[in-house]
Amino acid sequence: MEAKGIYARLEQRFPGKVSGLKDAVADPLLMVDAQAIVEVGRFLRDEPELRFEILSDLTALDFPKEEKLQVVYHLYSYTFRHQVVLKVDLSREAACVSTMEGVWKVANWFEREVFDLFGVVFDGHSDLRRILLPEDWEGYPLRKDYVEQEEYDGISTERAPLVEKLLR
């Protein structure tokens, strides 16, 4: 189904929760209200005409200028071979969204990764721990304003440059 059709179905099912369809770009994307994202996901998965069996990817984008974090869901359907991108806007200070774990199990690890690297908290997640970084790491590295801690466990994170850099 084309992106417009999907949008129309979602509009009909969740009035006011879905907006901002962009279908002129390579991957058609639409914005979803943060409260409704799990419901939208479940609907997209179970609706016989849509059948998005797959959560291909779940990641986030940081926009410090616009003061928002976006969580991005890439859905794909093996049955109908169509895809859609869902985006959820969150505030940077209190980034929080419900977990998608109940719909697609793979979201468990994806969400842990997003929590680890962006600091988005997923409500209702069964095991929200850091996954790639150590438990006691400070900060969320993939945020644009991230400053690396100077030392970790007493080990400096800097390596002295062997070649003198010229200031130019």
Binding site: P161, L162, V163, E164, K165, L166
Partner: protein
């Protein structure tokens, strides 16, 4: 009955497949080994058998380096540092240093590709072990060297001409602009 059949089949399958596997391994006993006795028991050094495209440790031919800084700019890991000084009296520009940190270098080949004369290129050398990371910094300029200026209509000095030719030959290995492009043909 089928259970007995399965039992017998299990045994025969095991015996025959093991037999076959043993035949394969035995056949390898009488074949030539594939490995070489690096580094000493080989007829010629490995370096000499590597293709021209091989991306070994970077080397720079300072005699034909134009000082365009393309390599320094393109290096994604900034392991190349070039210093150029213009003398006040003669207006001649000379290199003060040209250092490459081999520790950092990831042998991607982008610098060699960007070089207009082929003076910076990957050699076939790959043995870089030393006791100190500082020993892996290659200093190509020990005393100030003047920049090379390409002459129109070909190089006249025979020693330099040879070097220019080597550089160009190296550049030919890339999918080069003459044949239709390459990163950096259009200045953006």
């Amino acid at each position: 009955m089928s259970a007995v059949g399965e039992y017998v089949r299990d045994i025969t399958e095991t015996v025959t497949t093991v037999f076959e596997g043993m035949a394969v391994t035995f056949s390898h006993l009488v074949r030539r080994p594939m490995t070489i006795q690096y580094p000493d028991r080989i007829p010629k050094p490995v370096q000499e058998t590597l293709p021209l495209r091989y991306r070994g440790i970077l080397e720079v031919d300072m005699d034909i380096c134009t000082g365009c800084l393309a390599c320094e700019r393109v290096c994604p890991i900034s392991c190349i540092t070039i210093g150029i000084e213009t003398s006040k009296e003669t207006k001649q520009r000379t290199f003060t240093h040209f250092d490459i940190d081999i520790c950092k270098c990831m042998y991607c080949g982008l610098c060699a590709e960007a070089c207009p004369t082929g003076s910076i290129r990957h050699s076939q050398e790959f043995e870089g072990a030393c006791y100190n990371p500082a020993g892996l910094v290659r200093h190509f300029v020990t005393e100030p060297v003047p920049l090379y200026k390409p002459k129109k209509g070909g190089e006249t000095d025979p020693t330099l001409a040879e070097k220019v030719e080597t550089g160009l030959k190296y550049l030919d290995e890339f999918a080069s602009p003459e044949k239709g492009g390459g990163a950096g043909t259009e200045e953006g």
